[in-house]
Amino acid sequence: MKTLLVGEYREGKLLNSTYELFGFASQFGGETAMLLVGSDAQLPAFDGTLYLADAAIYGEYNPDVHKKLILQVIDKEQPDAVVFIHSSYGWDLAPRIAANLKIGQVSEVVAITGIGFETCCCNGKMRRTVKPATGRTVLTIQAGAFPAVQPGGIPNVLKTVGDTASALNFTGYEPADKKGIDLAKADVIVSAGRGVGKKDNIPVIAALAKALGGELGASRPVVDAEWVTHDHQVGTTGQTVSPKLYVACGVSGAIQHLAGMKKSDFIIAVNKDKDAPIGEIADVLVVADVMQFVPALTAALTR
């Protein structure tokens, strides 16, 4: 067995998530090579073949160009699996590789099973086992599902060159919106999810946050619906937090939200759906209507 891992590099840095690919590879077994469009100043520490293309030439994001580099290396390495992180880089590139080679792709793999690969579905509520029908396969692995492994060592670097022609033109990055509150400093965060029902109910959640001496957090749908501002958002595209107490009110627990708060010391979830994925990581799941339970808890705390 042989895997070709595709590392990630952004804003001049090798991304730490790259090491999760090694975590996957150590479970998958066999030989490992990596392809990185990056820089020789930031090499991943592992003892194997590293195909390195210069990001200064091929860009940090240019799927047309990166696709051709990856296809070239696949042709040379003949791997059984080509593995990406399921990220804005990976889910953008992986289907292009699979379609070009007409091979099966399994997205957002959370585990390797005897038959195939376990993946998430139905907003993280359910799982599927998916078996590729082709000998070679493209995989994207869920961020955080496999441990970050630093194999150590010095890679055997093979400089990789290719075609730079592309229809796309990447013009740069826009920084994250950092104004407003810094949730990372809060000891207590009480978050509102879609289950709070409507914008008018947000003050009820904010009142509990105040009663516990904490800050108001929010899940993505609540921010998208403009019930609260983006600086309250917890999750992959918001802030990553680890307070002493995290209270999730009407938050279903999409993986992007869990990734931003699962390291909290103690998690209480309030949800009327006993099967909501938030229950997977909560220390306490209170099965109740948010708008009945939360005001009652706030009243008892401030009595």
Binding site: D177, T237, V284, L285
Partner: protein, 258 residues
């Protein structure tokens, strides 16, 4: 310019999902259906572009599935799409992303669409493959995960959402396909007059057999709930009792209450 938006109908994600008799997908009984949330943003963005371009443009909405998906097509028409295409397939859930993309590409190939919009993924299968694969099959330029979109002079300026909230800006020429992330815009609610107007808009049925040329590349062997780790405790009962228990737990397990 001809525009296309591809939508999927999915169950409400608050539903209880039970495996079907084959054990490979959910049973579709007792489910409430709605438009895939990501696709609502795609429809809204496509309608805004249709309004920007005016009557020199035409916007088609496409969905694959059994008869019930016509409801989602009608909603898109009421939001402002001009015409609908219903690719009839009662067993679309058995097709893999490669086949679904193949069906869409087979339809779109002869149509000369300048821009195609899709959601970045579906809420139920969530593979994030179909849009990009359609672009590859049609050899269109493609950018995924859009939280910003502008179109001027044949060039799309796309803002892609990256991890940590930063955005990547990319320009792509038409023909192009973009996949839309949540929060790209604020999808409109269809108004009653527009719902009435939409009733007169044409929905073309096409049999899936006319477009399906590909065999699957992956196979789902099982659909099941996650293994319960059972680490946490579950509290149920009347609200006052729950409040008392939760305060007790906060006092015992955390140092946040003095």
């Amino acid at each position: 310019m001809k525009l296309l938006v591809c939508i999927k109908q999915v169950p409400d994600m608050e539903s209880r999902f039970k495996p079907n008799s084959a054990g490979t997908w959910y049973s579709d009984s007792d489910l409430a259906w709605r438009m895939n949330e990501y696709d609502e943003y795609a429809v809204e963005q496509a309608v805004r572009l249709r309004e920007q371009l005016g009557d020199s443009s035409e916007l088609t909405v496409l969905s694959i599935g059994p008869d019930r998906v016509v409801e989602s097509i009608k909603k898109s028409l009421a939001m402002g799409c001009d015409r609908g295409v219903h690719i009839q397939d009662p067993a679309i859930h058995e097709k893999d992303p490669w086949q679904v993309a193949g069906i869409i590409a087979a339809y779109a190939k002869e149509q000369g669409f300048g821009l195609i919009f899709t959601g970045m993924q579906s809420q139920d299968r969530g593979s994030a493959q179909v849009g990009v694969t359609v672009a590859e099959l049609l050899q269109y330029a493609c950018a995924t995960t859009l939280v910003g979109f502008a179109f001027d002079n044949g060039v799309v300026t796309a803002k892609r959402e990256l991890e940590g909230g930063i955005k990547g800006v990319v320009k792509l020429p038409i023909p192009a396909l973009v996949t839309c992330q949540l929060g790209l815009n604020v999808p409109r609610y269809p108004t009653l007059p527009n719902i009435m107007k939409a009733k007169k808009k044409e929905i073309t049925p096409i049999a899936v057999a006319d477009l399906l040329k590909e065999a699957p590349l992956v196979q789902t062997t099982s659909f099941h709930p996650p293994t319960k780790k059972g680490a946490g405790i579950v509290l149920e009962g009347d609200v006052n009792g729950l409040v008392e228990k939760v305060i007790g737990i906060i006092k015992e397990k955390t140092a946040v209450l003095r």
